[in-house]
Symmetry: C2
Subunit: 419 residues, 2 copies
């Protein structure tokens, strides 16, 4: 069977399975989740053996150490995958939740009830735990899902799916509810993205290049974030020790991720006091610092010049741009101009100022006195996440169970007709 | 200024205004809504005079009587527009609503708070009350909006906007929050649809051709419904008198709208009893009836043959297709195959059967014992609507205040950093 027909057949089977999925009880779904969790741990030798094939290919291909490490499965990581599945089993089932009840003067009762989206397409790269995390969230939210992982993890993903499918045959979950596209051909993605009548949403999870590719070719709605250009603003009312710790954490704890800080904004009233030790400590951690003129007037050595492009750049590494601003308004304006609307934080002891920042910064997650690094399904208590959204429609921020649902109106009448 | 620059400038001004709109108090918005309502009534002579220009053009161009009537403004209709504005002032302000509060073990408090979408583009046809209804909903939900009405209503829309703008100068609402594209060139729409960085959503409201045009050219997310292929299913457990009244209402009360019935499904157990008088009464109202073989075996005269295409057709007029089905499952399968996922109704006295229909029919609005004609923002108690959505993402069914909002996470910390 050629790729075109094969993908169409998968999408049709997923659509059919989605109707069954929508009717499963919470208990039926939880039983399956816990059984998959146990099966992953029970089959860890097999998983590690298959994963080793991916690691070998990656090493031969000269992938970076960081990437090879992200690919790696070991007993600890497999246990973490299983724990995440069990945790998802423990989360509240969103399906069937009555979001609103409206009683009309004519006696109609209108209930707005949460339902699954239907069929979800997940297109992702590298880490194999994404496969089990996303499968768990889709299953719990009553969706069917089609997975297309990166070619670097093909053996690991196949192995996870083999275990998962073996479990499903013993549960109420239809086998076609969770499907993996095994082809590593990018053409497979393009075929999948055609079926807007069969899939309800696509979540691409990976680098900007992957997301732009998906957004360009998809006829299906795409939930996306292209970039994470996150800011920390140190107000003149900040606890400067706290500001130092938060800025350090937001930049260096894991610089390659979307919720890491890319630009530090500092009120000019505290810049002279705050910046010298902050910049020195960042540089000691191997971070290149780029500053605007005022920053470079304060720290005269070792700070490179920023250019306009810096404010728009997601470095995804140990580089930070720093700007001295004239108060809250300039900070908010800078963020609303250059932010990717992902996560931005203010450090301040002034509640009114904090509230204005929270109200006026137009981003998915706005923080007071905390690191931007918390924007994450697990850290928000959502179990895990299928992705992060910087869109404003449908879902914003970490996308987990609620983001995987839609709703329908159920209307109860006793013969009402329209006048 | 050429069209391209003009539209860009409008979009930029709307974006800037949207930040101010998001911060308005409920009182400030309600004051403006009530003032616009009063101003419409006060200026009704001017409105009727300008509207008359559109009516004359439409008559000269040989538009149908129905279309000319939809265009017409008179004191009663202007009062209804004003009433709708006042009613919107009375609705709960969605902005600022705390949808969820999450307290994390590390002390972070995460509040999911409703915020306006930002900038909304409304592209619509004919009826001038759409202009005031949509302006009211956008204003109340704290959005800026750009309007592009049909060329047939250009004088009426300009007149409404002139009154509206004169009121805004005396309120806290920024003047650029509500803008009308006066050009009747379709190129203007294409220019608007380019600005995905400045507009957050497009709502096209009109015929399928308009909606397809917008969906094809838009880089901005589009909330849409292409068709309304709505079903009524008469179960063997139906009160047949009620079924008759509901079917009649759903088909003939206003056949040219999206929530009118296009296909009647009847259980074979009651078909012989139900169909003869039903079909005769529909025909007496001037409705053409097309039936499947079983229908035509029961009513042997005056019923045309259905072809496959009938089940997929939105007649938007006095034509009905009728099918006899073998029970609930076949009815649900037919609807999930052919419905446009807009509005579908079951008539039954059996609660279990009703529940199965509500659960399994995959449509925005599913009814028990009521006419499909109630799918409408006003009938749902939403004041009015900017459109109806058959999408599953973001908003489903009538789109009003809640559908015009997104949310953000406001996260309150006291120095939390990620471990």
């Amino acid at each position: 069977m050629n790729l075109e027909k094969q993908i169409l057949k998968m999408a049709q089977a997923a659509r059919a399975a989605s109707y069954e999925m929508a009717l499963l009880t919470t208990h039926e779904k939880n039983v399956a989740l816990k059984a998959i969790a146990r099966a992953l741990v029970r089959n860890q030798e097999y998983l590690i053996k298959e994963n080793f094939k991916d690691l070998k290919t990656a090493q031969t291909a000269g992938y970076s150490m960081a990437l090879v490490d992200r690919l790696r499965l070991n007993p600890k990581r497999i246990q973490a995958m299983a724990d995440s599945l069990s945790e998802t089993a423990g989360l509240k089932d969103p399906v069937g939740e009555v979001l609103e009840t409206i009683k009309r003067p004519n006696g109609l009762v209108i209930k707005k009830v949460r339902v699954p989206l239907g069929v979800v397409g997940i297109i992702y790269e590298s880490r194999p735990n994404v496969t089990s995390d996303c499968a768990a969230l889709c299953l719990k939210s009553g969706n069917a899902a089609i997975f297309k992982g990166g070619k670097e993890a093909v053996h690991s993903n196949k192995a996870i799916f083999k275990i998962l499918k073996a479990v499903l045959t013993k549960t109420k979950i239809p086998l076609e509810a969770l499907q993996l596209i095994e082809s590593t051909d990018r053409q497979a993605v393009q075929e999948l993205l055609k079926h807007d009548g069969l899939l309800d949403v696509i979540v691409p999870r990976g680098g900007e290049e992957l997301i732009r590719f998906v957004a360009e070719y998809s006829k299906i709605p795409v939930i996306k974030h292209f970039k994470g250009i996150c800011h920390v603003y140190v107000s003149k009312n900040a606890d400067l020790g706290m500001a130092h710790a938060i800025s350090m954490n937001a930049k260096v704890q894991k610089p390659g991720v979307c919720n890491a800080m890319e630009t530090l904004l500092v009120d000019k009233a505290v810049a002279r006091k705050f910046l010298p030790s902050m910049i020195a400590d960042l540089q000691n951690k191997g971070c290149e610092v780029r500053g605007d003129e005022q920053t470079r007037a304060i720290v005269t050595k070792g700070v490179n010049k920023t250019v306009e492009e810096d404010w728009r750049t997601e470095y995804l590494g140990l580089i930070l741009s720093v700007k001295v601003v004239d108060g809250l308004k300039e900070a908010i304006d800078h963020i609303n101009t250059y932010s990717s609307h992902h996560s931005d934080s203010i450090v301040t002891k002034n509640k009114k100022e904090a509230q204005r920042f929270l109200d006026e910064v137009d981003s998915a997650c706005v923080y007071v006195n905390a690191s931007t690094r918390f924007t994450d399904g697990y850290e928000f208590g959502f179990g895990s996440e299928v992705g992060i959204s910087t869109d404003k429609l449908h879902v914003r921020g970490p996308m987990a169970l609620d983001g995987l649902t839609s709703y329908k109106y159920k209307i109860y009448g006793n013969g009402q007709i329209r006048q």
